[in-house]
Symmetry: C2
Subunit: 222 residues, 2 copies
Amino acid sequence: MLLPVEPVFLKSLRDHVYGLLRDAIISGKLRSEEKLNERQLASQLGISTTPLKEALRVLEAEGLVRSEPRRGIYVTFNAAQAEEMMLARAAIESMIARQAAKRVSKEQVAQLRTLIVEMRAGLETVDVLELIALNERFHNVIHEASGCGYLRRLQSGQNIYTHTARLIVLSEERERFQAVEEHEAIANAIANHEADLAERLMRDHVIRSGEKHLLRVSQAEN
Amino acid sequence: MLLPVEPVFLKSLRDHVYGLLRDAIISGKLRSEEKLNERQLASQLGISTTPLKEALRVLEAEGLVRSEPRRGIYVTFNAAQAEEMMLARAAIESMIARQAAKRVSKEQVAQLRTLIVEMRAGLETVDVLELIALNERFHNVIHEASGCGYLRRLQSGQNIYTHTARLIVLSEERERFQAVEEHEAIANAIANHEADLAERLMRDHVIRSGEKHLLRVSQAEN
DNA sequence: ATCTGAAACTTGATATATCAATTCTTCGCA
DNA sequence: TGCGAAGAATTGATATATCAAGTTTCAGAT
């Protein structure tokens, strides 16, 4: 059996550049209000301006850069915006949870319950990587239960936490416990089709853990 | 005194084309799954492919078209997505209302109260255009009170209602009454700094009136 | 008749050249 | 010395040319 091709080669140049620039902006390598020169950046990356321009348009649509016609392109990202992106995540993710509570199937409820059990077990083993994977699967089940492809996509655009940030946050025992508690409450609300409750719990969960991530990020910068 | 130049000439070609295509997709002139040929479309519009490609990337970032590398660009918009965009609007707008309730100034509270009074007066005069303008100003005050530039931007990207749709919906007396009632309740919640309440009221308001808009749109299509 | 594969064709991906608006520099006049 | 206009330089906006992946078509073998 053959392995799939490395994703890098499947992505187009513009997608690659887009990811590159996004990471640079989110991680702070490109500072806010820093001017980006299309030609210079293109030659620096060893590409032409066409794919770069397309990548910049996507970043502009996401609100990470601002383009002033015939003047320049400026990075637009700071702590305040990071917080707003976290709030956006909370808003969208909680709306997804709301819809999931309405449409979840019995199989999906079972999946959620299984994941909760595994998370509880994971608390003991202290394997942070596994907990991160479980978290992702948990949210994925909810996303699928919601049946909201557009919201899911919109939500993924608000993601600004790096893998290392997740590692640091989940390495705290208190955080691990609280996260599992909250996940269980959310799972129960969805299982019971309590849309309002699921929405509220999810919103509070994302905001609370988000504030913790943001705190870590700002600490890491100083 | 000179009038400002027509906005058309201030916008770059790509922004113009972007708006053109977005309207065409939202209004249904371009059907879902319809294939867009870059060259054909460019020559049809009388432009080169460069600004068109940039416009298409923005639409792709917004989830209105889907680009399959070296295969084609396909329109992605249907009734289900329109509903999800409305839900996204509700989620984000309610998060904005939540923040506004925390940060609103006394002057802004006064502005909201004034607008409510004007809306009540407008109910009698039946000037729909003025009501639409008042609605917009009402939401704008809340947006400014929230201090959330990013959320505001994200929210504006979820707007799919045309001017005529607004006209039709607000031409119903029952809808006008209910909208003003809801606006007043939201204004009170924000004035009293009741973040949770403001969020919930705004969410329900956007969803309720949104469902009405969507109903009108789907009726207009058949 | 069906399947295979190579060639022609289509089309998005990428590169390069040109255009035009903005900014910067500099020279000259008050 | 300071202001301002002209022109050079910069740079994003736009147009055009080229490349390469994917699709289609059709001849030829089984």
